[in-house]
Symmetry: C2
């Protein structure tokens, strides 16, 4: 039996485009003589559809498009992920389902059992968990079809520190073994993080070996605002050896013979480096945000510092140099080298740029506020006015010319609130908000690996917001190398202050940093959506109260 995987990039709610893409690939798979084509989880509506699932019309549209797709399944079968209605008079109204289409109709609906409801996932918000199991019989074969998390039954509880237990209480694949299947197919919507593919391979290999069955895995590719789907679809033989694998972040159709037991492991994959994976994910994140929103051009503030430099390089890679407008916004506190470094980068990338000095407007605002600010000294208020004036100017240019503002804040700053709300925190999309400052350096070195694109001086100079004379980030923050390690232990690893201190950090410093993270939840509430590349990003996957007072 020849099976095609269709690792595709879908657009949430865009049934017309998604159905057309599915039909086109069914036809192509037929041309390539496939017996079956497999699309990812919730392919038809896009993932995650979120509260669109609470709209009756959305569900009805989903069903009518599914019937249109089924009409093309003639001489080929298809597995298409989409929500299905729960006919029972108790329980949530929907299942997260996979439609088996054959003979021009919906032949079978397989439902998801394990519903992830942690980190970025909210599936129990919408779906009833499946409790009955069935197998797909097709062309003399028995296919055990599961949906994403269904193969992750041995997953640990995400509540890391007390992690001695499995999150789930049952195993869908074990239940399916009662039907003596020939092979397993798993359709997924598994978002990227820089560790996800390795974790995923382990889980898939474990399943192939445990059940001694060949396994085909089909994932989404492409970005959905915060979430980037890396694809990485693959096939294993019954020994857990990888037979085929799809590229990352790209659409891919591939016809394979999953059930040919003579097939030997043909590949030994080498994963790209962490920096390369993150860079590609961010380029995909920016590119899809623009394509799917039908935007073309981006604008961003280019300070001469390393964060905006990296953001510009990513934007140019995603959108093309002719579609990205960096704007230099010098103040009286900007150093000459900052302006030179910014210009040099724009030159290296072949970008046009604009220079809009903020000094006159800054002085004008200070004059306007002089009745109120008389007898006060220059402090954070005046620093923030500069950052916010830059926001006003960039947004004015955005409004005037239709360019979308990209935010340039990094994860270290976002963590501790070292950024100005409505100032440098402005932007439609936060490009590097899930990249710690030390990782920003790694990415810049990766970018410069063959030639100097980001000016050397941008990389080596001490980070500074340049909002007062001779300001350095290290005046208010510990060195980033230290800060980032503590942040990582707190945010990604959910360690307590004492546990982090036990790793060799000063307890008082650890507590100070944790309290800064907690206290600045209010700023992150209003931040731009962050492209997620780590296992724990700010945004939908990390939900903390704003009004709270938990002293660590």
């Amino acid at each position: 039996m020849k099976i095609a995987w269709a690792q595709l990039n879908f657009h949430i709610g865009n049934f017309d485009a998604n159905a057309e893409k599915i039909i086109t690939h069914i036809q192509e798979a037929k041309r390539q003589a496939a017996d079956l084509i497999v699309f990812p989880e919730l392919a038809l509506c896009g993932y995650p559809p979120l509260d669109f699932l609470e709209s009756n019309q959305f569900i009805q549209d989903n069903l009518s498009y599914m019937h249109k797709i089924a009409a093309h399944c003639d001489g080929i079968a298809a597995i298409v992920g989409a929500p299905a209605i729960n006919d029972s008079d108790t329980g949530k109204k929907l299942f997260n389902a996979a439609y088996f289409l054959s003979n021009k109709k919906v032949s079978q609906i397989i439902k998801k059992t394990l519903l992830p409801n942690y980190d970025v996932f909210d599936e129990y918000r919408y779906f009833e968990p499946n409790k009955t199991f069935e197998i797909i019989e097709y062309k003399g074969h028995k296919i055990a079809l599961t949906i994403c998390e269904d193969l992750w039954d041995e997953q640990d509880e995400t509540f890391t520190p007390l992690n001695h237990s499995k999150m789930y209480t049952m195993s869908p694949m074990s239940a399916l073994m009662a039907f003596h299947p020939d092979c397993m197919i798993n359709i997924a919507a598994s978002p990227f993080s820089y560790v996800q593919h390795q974790t995923r391979l382990k889980v898939l290999q474990r399943n192939a070996k445990k059940y001694a069955l060949p396994l085909l895995y089909v994932n989404h590719c492409g970005a959905q605002t915060e979430l980037v789907f890396d694809g990485g679809s693959c096939a294993f033989n019954s020994k857990g050896e990888m037979l085929h694998n799809a590229p990352f972040f790209k659409e891919d159709l591939r016809v394979i013979n999953l059930l040919d037991s003579t097939l030997k492991a043909s590949i030994n994959i080498t994963l790209p480096s962490k920096s390369e994976l993150i860079f590609d994910a961010l380029v995909c994140g920016v590119s899809d945000y623009f394509k799917k929103q039908q935007f073309k051009k981006a604008i961003l503030g280019l300070s001469g510092g390393i964060d905006s430099a990296l953001t510009l390089v990513i934007a140019v890679a995603a959108l093309g140099k002719e579609n990205v407008l960096p704007v230099l916004l010098p103040s009286g506190f900007s150093s000459d080298h900052s302006i030179d470094d910014a210009k040099q980068l724009a030159h290296n990338l072949g970008c046009n740029y604009e220079i809009v000095p903020i000094e006159d407007s800054f002085q004008s605002l200070l004059k306007t506020l002089s009745p109120q600010f008389s007898n006060t000294t220059f402090n954070l208020a005046e620093e923030n006015i500069q950052a916010r004036l830059r926001g006003v100017i960039l947004m004015a240019m955005s409004n005037k010319f239709g360019h979308i503002l990209l935010n340039t804040s990094n994860k270290s700053e976002m963590s501790v609130g070292y950024g100005t709300l409505y100032g440098d925190m402005c932007g439609g999309l936060s490009v590097i908000g899930d990249v710690y400052k030390t990782e920003v350096y790694d990415l810049c070195h990766f970018i410069n690996r063959e030639q100097e694109i980001i000016p050397h001086h941008t990389i080596i100079k001490p980070p500074s917001a340049e909002l007062r004379p001779n300001q350095k980030d290290s005046d208010s923050l510990p060195e980033y190398n230290l800060l980032d390690q503590i942040l990582f232990q707190y945010i990604e690893n959910k360690k307590s202050a004492d546990e982090i201190a036990a790793q060799g950090f000063e307890l008082e410093l650890v507590k100070k940093i944790i309290n800064m993270v907690n206290k600045n939840e209010y700023k992150r509430k209003q931040a731009a959506p962050v492209i997620r590349v780590s296992p724990k990003a700010f945004g939908m996957g990390r939900r903390m109260p704003i009004v709270a007072n938990y002293k660590c």
Copy 2:
């Protein structure tokens, strides 16, 4: 048996303060000769603790404070809501639990079975559902203790349009009936909406009647950023007649004799009007945001329009006139009457105010941008510069003097994106972001019911952003009376365009409005947290994709 309810206002994560409050009330209940005192759901850590529940330290702190509290339960028993650890090696690591404290120790732990995971609730993110049932035996009585949603087993699926089913597949209270209880106690964290108390009373009465048992219900009061808990604790006899009820939005300790079957329904409650409830909820929301964050003073832009007028009245009611600073920020497009109306309101409330004209800074910015903006005409870009300059000025004063900026946007504007991101959308807290414009009028009439506080002219004049000459909201939007009805059907009632049109609205207009709502998700992503007063507020309870294209 004399039982005390303790309807209290807790602070998320503030174990010191919460435990002290619990202990103080245990002692007071003892003085009043109560046998048992009942605190709300997750009282000890505050509700909702969100991802703090993923911190091991947080859970351990919770347990050690619980033991401190238990030590005070001598001659009195207490029921205290708090998370409990799941000892099983499968399933999520925590239960949402109620601790029964007696004889100075934790005597029993009762676990929540039905975990709400819709709208603002994410309980399945953290908790394993209970599957085993037990009764509390105390002083010769058998108490069926349930936690909030456990009594809502007959609740409809929230997926309204296809709503033919019960959301839950089992009934915890039915299971508890096997133990032949004498009475029911339900501890809750049930947030306010203007329809919630009526719904809640129906559910509670239904349970009392169905099981023919007296019922005590104890809820939180006080606000937690977006969520306001209205209290409304109450007791019913076994006929479902209300015996006692607590005030709304206020702390209350009351000792009652739940098991005295001679008690007749003593009260016939009249609920406050919708406007009064919303007004009190918003005052509570603002007041607690400031108290719990240890802020004292607020600042806001006062335009002379009705939204900022209402916000100011609420802020003054919450914080005191001496703690609220309205700032008039006239531009060249501000009408004289706007400034007069704003001054009159400040005068009526006895507030100081500041006037900071934005014209000079606006001209300065236009000059700065003239190289870029030459040969373009005045449009949205210039309109937004004014709104954003106001944001810069208000935030500068906030930074300089430590006043927290209150946002004044209403729900109609937020719905359709009629507001400037980083401009009038600035603020730490959105006070009326869940109040439609037509409800804003209702609230103003409620406020003026005895005397004119909000100037008559503010109420009767046509709404205008005053960002260009003679601008009116109705230039870009339908009349609010029409707009709000369509928005309500789409947002609260989740109706489709066709269903709304079938109610007598023009289909093209309905589609246009729905598309505006969907398209402006990106703005709401960066909006201030909104105090929730409706059954469907923007924020944590409504989760829509930003990058999406669902054509209605």
